[in-house]
Symmetry: C2
């Protein structure tokens, strides 16, 4: 959590968001001890007794130890916190959701031939594609085992979310290099790949915190909208991020032929760009031309507005949930997510 | 089952095993209608409503539709049959075990760069590595969902078996190209990669058939020994199989730098060969020299004897199980497994 707070504090400073800075302190006070415990459990879960010499364990531990925003565990913790102190069940579910997320990254890096993540070489780059595939399989098994043992009723919903992620990855794969500029396809990918796991995290936490059915449903909706906003921001950062703070190379999605949201908006306003994009993107000059077109058509601004709109709707969903510091903290998470690309 | 019976009948004819042929008819009579139903469910499980256009679904279906021995589902069915007619639960578990097996093949083919399997191009070769990875993830999720829904108490044991498989794959990966001629390492790989899933299949069927605790334990042991025998036979076939009936290229494991059982035995008797193997295998001439050494040292014969010994011990485990046609059929499965390399 230290790492993510530092990063978010930097965001606030850079974007002159002082009030958000104060709210981040409140968020930190609320979750830091739970997240520290989850971090310990997470690291312990990838150092199994008697198997730490296995390359899958080293490969899995390498990714997990590299850190990350831990946004999904934060969702579980805050949803649970709405109902009272965070118990072992909620903490285990928080570990599980980060393990699932890590498993998908290990497979994604093989698929995308990714060499760096979180400022370090990927598991794939260090230990090879095969180790990254098996390490992903292993983290998935470990996550499912935890959910089965602590909260069996959340297992089928988790399998559903993972299936959504796989189908979304599949859809993205089928369209790879073709830059399909269709908003409904983009939404299916964003909701499947990103939002479904956020939604699961919210439901898992809410159930662990024994919230009402209405609250669980509202938080699931919150998770979907937060996830969509998160993906939109991620898409904007492909064109307009600071690689030292995002940890992502600029134009990476564009070069991999992945459709990002600003491209769809820009192509809608500039038929010439749409035709150019359809022909493929393969050099730096063209990437800069695309960036120019995104700025000229106002597509980046429009994408940011879409992210803010998703966040507004998420805040609305939150309104039926019992008030208190945990609800405020969820609103803060939402705000910092959108502020990343403000 | 038609396919596997045809193949086994060929084995019997080729190896002049007429009495075994008669026992195979008995086996077929016992399981063919259950296996036909399982085959239908298996194909339906990879053709999900509304997602059949996804490349993961096409990739998964391609492998599953290519057939295979269906040996693991046969184990579930026969273990359940010991207790009475095979019910929906047992059939679902049989589908699940074949889905898990298929998932591992989809990942293995990426790891091994396999281009052909079961006489057809691999999913990897047709749809790409990425599709094969995600298709494997998907089949795994589908398998776990079925087990969770029909037989939740078998889920953690299945996750345990999958973890064993992953650690064994990892161990094999770490030693790849080094031909580690250590029998204990070979055993760990064979038990983890192959035997653990056979053992799970036997326990799953036995529990579905409501057998006694002692019978369940005996059948688990049977599964481990059958699996080890199966792997030993597979290893022998890398040197001494008929590619048209095994569907495997000769010397494939050897060229991939995988330690197979006959190599360990031969190296123990021929220090020169051990040194040569340690230096790596990379041409046809050397592969033939290795084959010559295996024959000269009697290693192939000794490996066959080891497989028969495992089978004898498996038959012994079977002796405490209630007698009847299902038990006889399990003995037949054992015999045909060993007969593949007789």
């Amino acid at each position: 959590m230290g790492q993510v707070l530092d990063r978010l504090t930097t965001v606030c400073r850079t974007n002159d968001l002082a009030p958000l800075g104060e709210r981040l302190s409140a968020l930190a006070t609320l979750v830091s001890s739970d997240l520290a415990e989850i971090e310990r459990d997470l690291l312990a879960s990838v150092a199994p007794a008697g198997a730490s010499e296995r390359v899958v364990a080293r490969g899995g531990a390498h990714l997990v130890a590299a850190g990350g925003k831990r946004l999904r565990p934060t969702c579980v913790v805050l949803a649970a916190r709405l109902g009272g102190p965070v118990d072992d069940v909620a903490r285990e579910l928080a570990v599980a959701v980060e393990l699932v997320h890590s498993a998908t990254l290990l497979h994604d890096d093989v698929v995308d031939l990714g060499d760096a993540r979180r400022g370090r070489p990927t598991t794939r780059a260090l230990y090879g594609n095969s180790a990254s595939i098996f390490a992903g399989d292993w983290l998935l098994v470990e996550a499912l085992r935890r959910v089965r043992q602590t909260s069996p009723e959340m297992l089928v919903p988790l399998l559903d979310a993972i299936e959504q992620m796989i189908f979304a990855e599949s859809l993205q794969l089928e369209n790879r290099g073709r830059l399909v500029l269709d908003e409904s396809v983009w939404r299916r990918v964003a909701e499947g790949k990103t939002a479904s796991l956020f939604a699961w995290a919210m439901v898992a936490g809410a159930r662990a915190g024994k919230l009402t059915q209405d609250e669980v449903a509202a938080l699931e909706r919150f998770g979907m909208l937060l996830g969509t906003a998160f993906q939109t921001v991620d898409d904007v950062l492909d064109f307009d991020g600071d690689p030292t703070s995002t940890g992502k190379t600029l134009f990476a999605d564009l070069r991999e032929g992945k459709t990002t949201y600003p491209l769809i908006l820009a192509a809608r306003r500039d038929a010439g760009l749409a035709a150019q994009l359809g022909a493929g993107v393969d050099d730096d000059v063209f990437a800069r031309e695309v960036l120019e077109a995104l700025r000229r058509t106002g597509a980046l601004e429009e994408a940011r507005a879409f992210a803010r709109d998703q966040a507004d709707r998420a805040r609305e969903a939150l309104s039926i949930v019992r008030p208190g510091p945990a609800r405020d903290a969820l609103a803060t998470v939402l705000e910092t997510t959108v502020a990343r690309c403000a």
